[in-house]
Symmetry: C2
Subunit: 296 residues, 2 copies
């Protein structure tokens, strides 16, 4: 990992923790448990890849870092909600996440459902607030983009396809599509948020979308490789889940060696999309290299 990236990963981890800490002050009434469960889910741990992508993309257009950070907290809130709901017994039924008990294990199922619901609302509240950007058009565009990326035509749709995938046999094209929705849409939003904050019109975002597309797939293949081969201690969660669930993944369809080669190719392609940017794109370049060369 490059020096720039390790510095930035440490910085964003600290920033996101401190933002969630400030946002989630438990009130002095019986909502306290909800807030404590939200803190359990959101503070301490997590790569914070999505906020880092927002900051990395925002840097290309000289966006105020504070604006980028707020948009980063919003996308991380969506990510946290999706993990809490994914871990529920009716979904993936996971006991451990980020090296700690999942929310429904540490608290209970009803609390975990509400925690996810609350984080989704929090994400949109943050994006719509004047502090995120002075221009209301930018705020409304951020909300519309995140809602589209996370809703039934995006992340949630991908999760629904993933559930169906256990029953159906899927080919590579279908798995690619599924993953583009399930994890790619939110990664796509993270990059797009930088462009929205920088007031780059949609027609100026083609290369960034190429970067996000290739990075998202590379990242997911790397995740499948970690699930197949990774160290549960480093990952802070169980490994071998996909295989046990009988899910088709890039690894089950391609085999380990071809999956790894494909991830590297996609990472290189992602970096090529940034060709016309200078040093301001170095963070995004290092993220693309790191995405396929990580242990959690």
């Amino acid at each position: 990992m490059g020096d720039l990236l390790s510095l930035e990963l440490a910085r964003i981890a600290q920033e996101i923790d401190s933002r969630f800490d400030a946002l989630l002050t438990p009130p002095d009434d019986s909502r306290r448990t909800l807030y404590e469960a939200m803190r359990h889910a959101a503070i301490g741990g997590g790569k914070r890849l999505r906020p880092l992508l927002v900051c990395g993309a925002a840097r290309l257009f000289a966006v105020d870092p504070e604006c980028a950070l707020r948009a980063g907290v919003a996308v991380e809130a969506i990510h946290v909600y999706s993990l809490v709901h994914d871990d529920l017994p009716a979904m993936d039924d996971d006991d451990m996440r980020r090296g700690r008990p999942t929310v429904h294990k540490a608290f209970d199922e009803a609390t975990a459902i509400l925690v996810g619901d609350a984080f989704q609302a929090l994400a949109f509240e943050i994006l719509a607030a004047p502090a995120t950007h002075g221009d209301p058009f930018v705020r409304a565009e951020l909300v519309a983009a995140l809602a589209a990326a996370s809703g039934p035509a995006g992340m949630v749709g991908g999760q629904a396809m993933d559930m169906a995938a256990v029953a159906l046999m899927h080919d590579l094209a279908t798995i690619s599509r599924l993953q583009q929705l399930k994890t790619g849409a939110l990664i796509g939003f993270s990059i797009e948020a930088g462009a929205i904050l920088g007031k780059v019109p949609p027609e100026g975002r083609t290369r960034l979308r190429g970067y996000a597309h290739d990075l998202g797939l590379a990242f997911q293949i790397a995740d499948d490789l970690l699930d197949a081969e990774g160290d549960p201690v480093a990952m802070g969660k169980a490994a071998g889940k996909d295989d046990a669930a009988g899910k088709a993944t890039f690894v089950s369809l391609l085999g380990i060696d071809r999956a790894r080669a494909q991830a590297r190719l996609l990472s290189e392609q992602a970096i090529e999309h940034l060709g016309n940017f200078g040093h301001e794109a170095d963070l995004l370049r290092e993220i693309a290299a790191y995405a396929v060369d990580r242990d959690r």
Copy 2:
């Protein structure tokens, strides 16, 4: 029920159904089940009280009815998501809703979790879209207000208090506060949305907030009365749930007669807040009277 209200209730029911029908066209892939479950949850049935409140409040400020209707669909999407998640086995564990099997009964729990998540995203996507209002400031304000009303400091916080209420003994002040969050916040948003769409500044919304506050409590007390005395067939769901769950409600704390008197008083107070408006406020007046005199 007044002629105006019965006409408007029929009209809004048809409008909301047709909007959800158009928004939820099942795609031709394995997300189909998710969309079908969303249609099951959202189309056909429901009083559509919240959209009607948006339209009623928007009428006070001569807002384009199409804008009001879109905001109404958004708040109904939040309401639908909250019902689907509330009905889950880990929450209220209800089998019937609006005279039909609940989503987790008709489909499964994982689908019901995703359906709720998807409706929340859909709500914010609708509000942030240019079609909802030409002024992005209005759209951003709608999103911020709905997110605050539905999140941990609003509806979801109220649900968390409600869960805790089974364990704790609550007094009238606490139950009022709980209900103001659990159901009052979304009713408050519905009224506020009319003012936001009408570009009424916050300092001009005092009387409307009074109306929303009194209506919200009156509506909830009437709900408690229906739970205690109502006809499960008319309601389309089980009755006597609160008592069976050992929950403190307005009825258990006040008794039936005082609860009914209190609901009527609040309904009259709500109407008084509209004193300075003319016939354009008749719909809101009739809704306040209907809130405490309904069978479902």
